[in-house]
């Protein structure tokens, strides 16, 4: 057998051990399924083989399909020769031995095997829905037969990873072996034990668990109803349900046929293409073209956070969640207590909700150490500053950090708007300084925007990027400019929503359009949530700095009349006591109308499409300027930021991917028309013009000079 074979077969005393060896995660790339089929057939043909074991080499069983294969022309599967069919047809038992991940096509192969044994750290799941498709190799037919349609739907529609212990409880795993045990040996032992058991336990032959659906025929409609909000604009979750429904209504082979039809409907759908794009964009974003790959990273085992406010606390929680000891510094005892109390209360809410165990809460709290002096943090590997956003305050903090931090410590700032170089230059080691911008709430939002200072060392930046990933975030690199990349690209959206209101749109109309588009909440409700006073302060600052600054008189009026958002029970919407639901407020409509009249702005009506395009095109144009200035590496990085920082619907791929769907030429045409109508702020970015004239999609835009 060739050394580099993707699948190996060994005869170990009558047990055929089939090992999948396709690093890093044994994805089902071309050749792997064929190799498994060949091995199973070989085991069946060899009279000395009594039973087989299917196992993965390296760190995982089979982590799933090779996503790059989807949406491409592939030879149609030969009937009867698909892996799961060959396993079903096997006359000898096959034991799947699972460690690491058995996901998607990997779990489907395990389900087509006769027995499943796993280590406790293993995870199983059918996450196809997350890339807009469904398990297409019998998974939607076998899983309901194994664990019942309800539990199967839960797994298939959510796509979640199920830990081995839970999978054992559900009945997916037959046997768990100790983490320390030799899984391969345990599986071989199991294979010997079951070698003569007949009939072979095939999931396709079972239908006892399907009785659940017969008893409760409303099950599927109830599931559809329960996902209606979350799954709006998407087809995959509904096709997943339909496939499971078919498992209960049709004989197994017909069900598999139905599953294939439902799969085919999805494979090249807009949503699946967008989700695949997002998947790859999130891998691409880690690549730093101007920093050598082999740059050694600095060790990071301990962290300190300066400032125990909402952001500082959230950042500390992010570190604690991933096992880092983290010191939380606040000079005043009172502020420190308040910060810790907020962290504890956040955790308690999660415990109450059942999403966090009490043990885990205590473990995390134990990792967060409150401190009051800068000397206490000097030995930490990384410090992240999250204090008040004022330049003198930042300068003072960085000067202090420069004094106390050990040589080589990474000194990061969570600023969302202040020039990183100002802070870097407040130290004598600007090479160790960079921005690490979290998004609120910091412990939840995935985006981790690394901001390059002029003097940030390559290893500082590479370590920052890696650090973000270590605390469960998606790191994305940004150049140093006003607002960096994420917020800078989002700002024109915010400007336009305010200006549209002056022209006669109500906040509730804008929010409805954006929620229908797929945002979890509308932009005005989001503003109410964050507090309208935040924007007010920065507007005042900008207006003072720039006489041409476009003021937001209606937003200002709301703040000046005490409507600060949810915290005051009223902002763009009104709120009932103890309830976060935004209600349209006729008072706001009246204020808008009066102000518009005072300003002499003509009122008109807007179509939903105009609202959507006006908000998003404004940001697309800014994103083009960012790319042109070389402040982002690639358009897809901006998409990653919008998906993970702003709640942009993932099944639309991201801002730039979505805009490509409209077409560069059309975006340019519309932006130029708004330039004519609204003036300067809509001047098309030169890059946008070039792309439109050359017919180049946004996602192929070459960025300008390096950051």
């Amino acid at each position: 057998m060739a050394e580099d074979a993707l699948v190996c077969f060994e005869n170990l005393g009558g047990i055929g051990v089939i090992t999948v060896d396709n690093p890093p995660v044994n994805a089902l790339s071309p050749g792997v399924p064929e190799g498994i089929v060949e091995a199973v057939e070989r085991g069946n043909a060899d009279p000395t083989i009594k039973a087989m074991v299917l196992i993965g080499a390296g760190r995982s069983f089979i982590a799933g399909a090779d996503i790059r294969q989807f949406g491409t022309r592939r030879p149609p599967p030969v009937p009867g020769k698909r892996t799961h069919e060959v396993l079903d047809a096997s006359a000898k038992p096959v034991v799947a031995a699972i460690h690491g991940y058995a996901l998607g096509g990997g779990l489907e192969i395990a389900l087509a095997s006769h027995y499943r044994v796993a280590v406790p750290s293993a995870k199983v799941g059918l996450p196809e829905v997350l890339i807009g498709i469904l398990p297409g190799s019998g998974g939607t037919q076998r899983l309901p037969r194994l664990i019942g349609p309800k539990a199967a739907m839960d797994m298939i529609v959510s796509g979640r990873h199920v830990p081995a212990e839970e999978a054992r409880g559900l009945g997916i795993i037959d046997e768990l072996v100790a983490e320390s045990a030799d899984l391969r040996q345990a599986a071989i032992a199991m294979a010997r034990r079951v070698a003569d058991t007949r009939p072979l336990p095939r999931i396709r032959d079972r239908d006892d668990k399907l009785a659940e659906a017969k008893a409760d025929p409303g099950l599927f409609d109830a599931m559809r109803k329960s996902i209606a909000r979350r799954a709006r604009n998407q087809n995959a979750p509904y096709n997943c349900i339909a496939a499971v429904e078919a498992s209960c209504a049709l004989p197994f082979d017909d069900g598999v046929g139905r599953e294939r039809e439902l799969f085919d409907e999805l494979e090249n759908s807009a949503e699946a293409r967008a989700l695949r794009y997002a998947f790859f964009a999130e891998r691409e974003v880690a690549k730093l073209p101007d920093i050598p790959r082999e740059t050694p990273l600095r060790p990071v085992e301990s962290a300190a956070i300066i400032g125990a406010g909402t952001m500082g606390g959230g950042i500390a929680m992010s570190f604690a969640e991933f096992g880092f000891p983290v010191k939380l510094l606040e000079v005043s005892q009172e502020a420190l207590d308040r910060g810790l109390a907020r962290i504890r209360s956040n955790y308690e809410t999660s415990v109450k909700r059942g999403s966090l165990s009490e043990v885990e809460m205590n473990r995390r709290l134990g990792l967060i150490e409150p401190v009051q002096s800068y000397d206490a943090i000097g030995q930490c590997d990384v410090v992240i500053e999250a204090v008040f956003e004022r330049i003198p305050v930042k300068e003072e903090v960085f000067a202090k950090l420069d004094q106390v931090m050990k040589p080589g410590a990474l000194i990061f700032s969570n600023t969302s708007g202040i020039d990183i170089d100002i802070m870097a230059n407040a130290t004598k080691r600007p090479q160790d300084v960079a921005g690490t911008h979290f998004f609120a709430p910091a412990n939840i939002m995935k985006l981790f925007e690394v901001v390059q200072g002029a003097k940030s060392a390559p290893d500082t930046l590479a370590t920052a990027m890696a650090l973000g990933r270590k605390i469960g975030k998606i790191s994305a690199m940004a150049g140093n400019c006003d607002g960096f990349v994420a917020n800078r690209s989002r700002t024109p959206f915010g400007t336009e929503m305010n200006i549209m209101v002056e022209e006669g749109v109500l906040p509730e109309q804008v929010d409805k359009v954006m929620v229908d588009f797929g945002y979890p909440i509308g932009p005005f409700a989001t503003a109410d949530l964050s507090g309208l006073d935040i924007g007010y302060d920065s507007r005042q600052r900008r207006a003072a700095e720039n006489p041409n600054y476009r003021k937001m008189p209606i937003a200002d009026l709301l703040v000046e009349s005490g409507r600060l958002g949810q915290k005051t029970g009223a902002g763009w919407f009104r709120y009932e006591k103890g309830d976060r639901t935004p209600h349209p407020d006729p008072e706001v409509a009246r204020m808008i109308k009066e102000k518009a009249k005072e300003l002499g702005i003509e009122q008109r009506s807007f179509s939903d499409e105009e609202i959507l395009h006006r908000l998003l095109f404004a940001s697309v144009n800014e994103a083009c300027k960012i790319l042109e200035e070389g402040k982002a590496y690639r358009a897809s990085d901006i998409d990653v930021m919008w998906l993970n920082g702003f709640g942009f619907p993932r099944y639309r791929g991201g801002l730039m991917y979505w805009a490509d769907g409209i077409g560069v030429a059309e975006v340019y045409r519309q932006i130029a028309a708004w330039h004519q109508r609204y003036g300067e702020r809509w001047a098309p970015a030169p890059l946008l013009r070039r792309l439109a004239e050359t017919g180049t999609p946004f996602r192929e835009a070459e960025p300008g000079r390096p950051m």
Partner: protein, 384 residues
Amino acid sequence: VAGLQRGSAAIVGVAESDLGAVVREMSPIDLMAQGVHRALADCGLQLRDVDGLLCATSQSRTSGLAFSEYLGISPAFIDTTILGGSSFMFHVAHVQAALQLGLCKHAVIAYGSTQRTVGRRHASVREYNPYETPFRPFLPSTAYALAASRHMHQYGTTREQLAAVAVAAREWALLNPVAWEKKPLTIAEVLSARMVSYPFTVRDCCLITDGGGAIVMTTAERARSLKKPPGYVLGCGQAITHANISSMPDLTVTGALRSGRAAYEMAGLGPKDIDVVELYDAFTINTILFLEDLGFCPKGEGGRFVEGGRIAPKGSLPVNTNGGGLSYCHPGMYGLFLLIEATRQLRRECGARQVADCDTAIAHGNGGVLSSQSTVILGTEATV
């Protein structure tokens, strides 16, 4: 224009009269007649075939009478509509209507001017306007300069971009043996030339030459039996927005938006379908405004659009292939020359400046101070 049928009429003969600086004794009518004789020869018709006569000139109050007398004909259909430099595009639509109605069989449209020889003051007398004249505008430059300044303010258009229009026109002119200007021109030379009316230097302004010409039109059926391939009238559109610049509704948006739309609609074509573009370039801003209003680029983007030689001989959009009013000739009312060049391009008669595979052409006329706009779309037999 409503009522006109796409392709029902065609331009069959075209000719310039003597151009540039003519001898002192030449009258505008002499130049018109010279044009008519040459244009008839171009298509193989005789003067006796002509039963439709159209002309316009600022140098003869009743040019229709003078010209009929001069030619010794009594045309069945006569029209001397005068709306400035775009008059001849209006004439094309009028002839097409007359041909459709059978009011005439063969019409000539003629123009002549000796403004360079007699001086502009004599060739074209300014009328008094109570809102403008007291401020002593230098018309028409002041009016176009206002539009240019507004465009620069509103869209960030630069003087360099305006100059790029003049440079492109000059590059085309160097390929045209009868063009007035014979020397290359650079952006720097445009910018450093004598200032006329900010932001225009003399190189942003059209030439002041003598000249004239004529075109012959007939029905599509008759056109097919004549000497040369006809230029069919696929679309016509017109719009007037004002007479004086102080009454222009928006200094950066011209009636070409409307005239162009109407012409495209009649032709069933859009800007992407046009192979060669002839625009009335009395000033560099004109080309930018008309490229925008006729849909070759979005409003406000014209300045950027003309950068990098895009409309010059090796650029992606051939504009003003004869060298334009800026470098070829501009005898006061220039519209007729756009129709002549467009027809010649469709016939592939343009030698060094010939646009390859040219089947559709747009000839856009402008009159007054961006006041009257008229667009004609012509096509070869293949497009009818």
